[in-house]
């Protein structure tokens, strides 16, 4: 095709200019319309989003594998350089962990005995789906990743996504063969947690930075740097006791938590199927509670 010359891209006729201005206004208006629909009727937006994500995921899945291999080669070279010092550190860690293993075994036995004494309700069983991270939109506004497992693999909305280090996020949208994980650090993420040995309850709220903030701690809570933060299990979405991170800073910017998850090397996520009713049945639960309250008032 010929490249248009200067004379070809001449000033368009007034009618044409008017039409192009109209098209701009129309499309900007349409974009605003989409923004409004997204706020008022998130169901349609979510359906569209999962449909498009489902289409794209196989492509991403195929392309991301060589990328992963390449970054794997770099990592291996780095690991090779640190082999000796890492080996020493691991040996030391191994002896320490063996001691802990003995402690854990003893506690497990004791725990089981006490549970049976008290007839405690057993925790629901957990099963896992393991999926590869195939998409990471990045950017300044969201902290989410796409995984190559969806409805047909048993992934459901609200389930916890974990790595070997700890909690990474929760499933926010599910398609047929893909799902979107809302990371702990996303501005929309809220996770009920307990902090430290005192097990003070709070909520871990993301704000798109690498260190989410601890909110709604009780007035008596004493939080120190280095305290462990784990999921509390409140709300029934996440199993209790999943490690999240440690308190990294207590100061003017609020109480900040450094997650255990290594975001740069998050290649595989395990999706925890914790068989319990969570936010999925939230509306049903609220409905039941209201009905119960109404019945109570009527009496």
């Amino acid at each position: 095709m010929n490249k248009p010359t200067g004379s070809e891209i001449r000033v368009a006729s007034p009618l044409k200019a008017w039409a192009s201005r109209f098209a701009l206004l129309l499309l900007v208006g349409a974009a605003f319309g989409l923004m409004l629909i997204g706020r008022t009727n998130s169901f349609i937006v979510e359906e569209t989003r999962t449909a498009v994500t489902d289409m794209v995921t196989p492509i991403l899945d195929a392309v991301s594998q060589p990328v992963e291999t390449f970054s794997g080669v770099i990592d291996q070279a780095e690991a090779l350089a640190n082999l000796r010092s890492e080996n020493l550190a691991l040996k030391e860690q191994n002896t320490r962990l063996l001691e802990w293993q003995a402690v854990a075994r003893r506690l497990e036995a004791e725990n089981a005995a006490l549970r049976s004494l008290n007839r405690m309700v057993p925790d629901p069983a957990m099963s896992y789906v393991t999926a590869r991270v195939v998409g990471d939109p990045g950017g300044a506004f969201v902290r989410t990743v796409l995984i190559n497992a969806g409805e047909r693999n048993g992934v459901e909305k609200g389930q916890a996504a974990i790595t070997a280090d700890g909690l990474a996020g929760r499933i926010a949208e599910v398609g047929k063969r893909s799902a979107r994980v809302l990371l702990l650090t996303d501005i929309n993420s809220r996770v009920p947690v307990v902090v430290g040995d005192a097990r003070d309850r709070g909520v871990l709220a993301g704000d798109n930075t690498n260190a989410p903030e601890l909110l709604y701690l009780g007035p008596t809570a004493k939080v120190q740097v280095g305290d462990r933060v784990t999921t509390s299990g409140h709300g029934g979405v996440f199993p209790p006791g999943l490690p999240i991170g440690v308190v990294a800073g207590v100061g003017e910017k609020g109480i900040r938590v450094k997650p255990f998850v290594d975001w740069a090397h998050m290649e595989v996520l395990r999706i925890v199927d914790y068989e319990m009713t969570g936010i999925l049945d939230f509306e049903a639960q609220v409905g039941a509670a209201r009905a119960a309250a109404a019945a109570g008032n009527a009496q």
Binding site: M1, F32, R39, P137, A140, F141
Partner: protein
């Protein structure tokens, strides 16, 4: 000219005329790939913006406004944020280029890069503002600014690749 040649010629023309649209869509997908590089993810360059700007400047006939809208829509749907602000950002960039198209006719590469600096600033600022409004919180402008700088740095590399591709096509 024989009939067969006519068909191939027409197919060729169609392929060339939709390639900017598809290349920019591919850039949207490419930006989604997990690169596993520490701390890069928050400041991944706005590749779609580069594509839209480049073709709005060099081949406005092949980057019509509806194509810009579709690219923005796909990008916003796939990134998982609010749908809309990204589209409007790209539309703003396109409109600014079209509005000043006479300026770009004789401009050198450095001048176009400088213009991209201004246009990208406007587009990302609009996106940031609208996302903040939609989420009803003031989002930290820091990451957006870094994303802006990275996008500026990426522009020459991509523009060079696009120009090479265009020349290859025109042979």
């Amino acid at each position: 000219m024989r009939q067969e040649e006519g068909v191939w010629h027409r197919l060729d023309v169609v392929a060339r005329s939709i390639s900017p649209f598809f290349v920019t869509l591919l850039l949207v997908l490419f930006a989604l790939l997990p690169l596993h590089i520490a701390d890069l993810s928050p400041i991944v360059p706005a590749l779609a913006l580069i594509g839209v700007f480049f073709w709005s400047v060099h081949r406005p006939d092949l980057m019509p406004i509806w194509a810009v809208f579709l690219i923005g829509l796909v990008q916003d749907v796939l990134t998982g944020g609010v749908i809309g602000p990204g589209i409007i950002g790209l539309l703003v960039a396109h409109a600014l280029v079209v509005w000043q198209h006479r300026f770009f006719l004789a401009a050198s590469f450095a001048v176009i890069w400088f213009a991209f600096m201004l246009v990208a600033a406007a587009a990302l600022a609009v996106t940031w503002l609208l996302t903040s409004i939609a989420m009803m919180t003031l989002l930290d402008p820091g990451p957006v600014f870094f994303q802006y700088l990275v996008t500026l740095a990426f522009y020459p590399c991509l523009a060079w690749a696009f120009l090479r591709g265009q020349r290859l096509f025109q042979r």
